[in-house]
Amino acid sequence: MRELTYLEAVREAMSQEMRENDDVFILGEDIGVYGGAFGVTRGMIEEFGPERVRNTPISESGIAGAAVGSALTGMRPILELQFSDFITIALDQIVNQAAKLRYMYGGKGKVPMVLRTPSGSGTGAAAQHSQSLEAWVAHIPGLKVVQPSTAYDVKGLLKAAIDDDNPVIFYEHKLLYKTKSEVPVESYSIPLGQADIKREGTDVTIVATAIMVHRALEAAEELEKDGISAEVIDPRTLVPLDEETIVKSVSKTGRAVVVHEAVKRGGYGGEIASMIAESEAFDYMDAPIRRLGGVAAPIPYNPELEKSAVPQVPDIIQAVKDTLNRA
């Protein structure tokens, strides 16, 4: 099968959907001729024209409000925010409008929109352009939250997000844009709320999101050399969360390490850990659940400090060994 980059997979998902469905259009800052901050929409304006690939003013609140409005009229907008950090400006539209309207209209109106936005650190973009704020939106009832980790996943999940009648916050990790994997040419959908076991194992379950999926897999390779068999689970969507897959895995291994890039304090890992502790997996736990997350500090600009602010492969290895009393 041919390989695509994560970035190309996002573009292909959108293009295929726009060819199929005239209601789908994209809007955002500089997404037209410039192709967007990371070049995701490059070439799309040539195919779909400025009506369906709409450049907007620099106003995240305006973009989001326009998207909510058009979704209510029956369109299926995809809006792009250049950096997920800027979601703060759009949050009133997202939290108080998009998330609430379908409920408040008693189901008579709906907001089928997708908010795509790159998140995460590692590019030297400093404190205001490197955050992982997915826990904020995951907290809001009415929003779905997706964090794909591979090119294959991103294409299928984006299709599912576009098809969904609820507002979906779709996080793309900046460092993943250039990663490649096999991606089918045809359009396909990965249901939201279905976790993926990225690697099977027996001794410990590592639940990792986004870029951390890849670090967890790398750690698992290393751990295997020490005879430790790690299972790596990528939830893929935080809301809805595939609890069953996680609980089943932890029941099997008896140990869980939850890893994300977002700051550990108040991070979504706390939600996953609590869910495990409350589940029937509890009786199978043979070690306390470990959480790994970013340090409680702004992401530094210095590249070395930037790295040390978020979990790296050796951190995951160490945490796994700790839970196995093999430190």
């Binding site: 008896g254 509890f282 009786d283 199978y284 736990m285 043979d286 070690a287 009393n325």
Partner: protein
Amino acid sequence: MAKEVFMPKLSSTMEVGTLLQWFKEEGESVEIGEPLFEIMTDKINIEVESYEEGTLLKKYYQLDDEIPVNTVIAYIGEESEAVPKDPPVGNDQEGSMEERESSSTTEATETESNVKESQSNKVRATPSARRVARENEISLHSIQGSGPKGRIQEQDVAEMVSQTETKLSTPLAEKIAKDKGINLHNVQGTGSRNKITKADVIGHDTASSDEPERIQLKGLRKAVAAKMLESARSIPHVTLTTDVDMTKAMEMRQALLPIIEEQTGYRLSYTEIIMKTTAHVLGSHPYVNASLIENEIILNKSVHLGLAVAVENGLIVPSIQHAEAKGLAELTVMSKTLGKKARNNQLTPEEMSGSTFTISNLGMYAIDGFTPIINPPETAILGVGRIVRKPVAIDNAMEIRPMMVLSLSFDHRAIDGAPAAAFLTELKECLESPYGLLV
């Protein structure tokens, strides 16, 4: 107001005591001076008497629990008086912060369903370990945890389960194993479906008998080991020996034996004669009856004679206070009763401390001289050999005399050769003409 009963601190080295026995049940009345419980320290087993009177309201610990000193282990008070359900935490007045912290963490892991068990020792175990223990009806108390801070892991329980799993064995194999104290779990069976047969048990027995026996240094053995190492390492020992003609001492013993036996019921032995003589001579050699503590040489006024007693698994030194003031009859009674108490593990801490000079008697063996190790903080120790008839030159003639070797080890930091030699010489002379003691 109910009064606490503490785990006593019986020596400066005692950190924990192991509870061996309760003499009273909860609800029973207790008098002052009545034995309340028995504990084992690193040195001795001892019965602890009650300092209070009233009703034993609450016992917090069970047999074989190791309890830090100064921990509240029980309450005595008025009947129906309320006392805490759990032992008060942080009552170890001398305990370190660390100890306090660990006991309060233990507190936090208590489960209500298990209050009775957990009162004594709460178990740290993972949920999975608990589940497997529950499923297999195994008590977590019987399991040694391999996880951090002794946490019981699932694996630990699984191992215990497999250990308690019944292995196939023939009735004869079982009987032989039981008789020889062999755990069938460790025996590999060669019969049908790996059934353990007689030959397997006997094979295992002979195979394991080639293995050296390994004994953990603990309790008294460990205390003796530490003390001996400390003494040998820190004290510059010098040992002097001399031959003593015991003719007169023997005559004296012959004469006094029936008298003392009639008076006390105990038979006078040479040990007491040597003790008496030593105590007497030490009076004029205060440097030898000294203690060296840090930078001070303490010249003791009284002679408290330590008597090394071999007991099962070690060595104990009961001490006879003011030996210089005691007659042979009293010394005989004391040395016999203390020796017996030492062997029966019944010595009180007072009876085991405070000696200023020790005598170690190996005269019952075919031993002449040896190099005894000083019992610090004392500065000298006397080794007594056997009495053996030997030819000696007396006034240009050869005579057969009952001879005995005395070996004096002394701490050269406190005592020099000349005063030590003078002491030993006078001791020898005194034993050779023991009637001088009467003077």
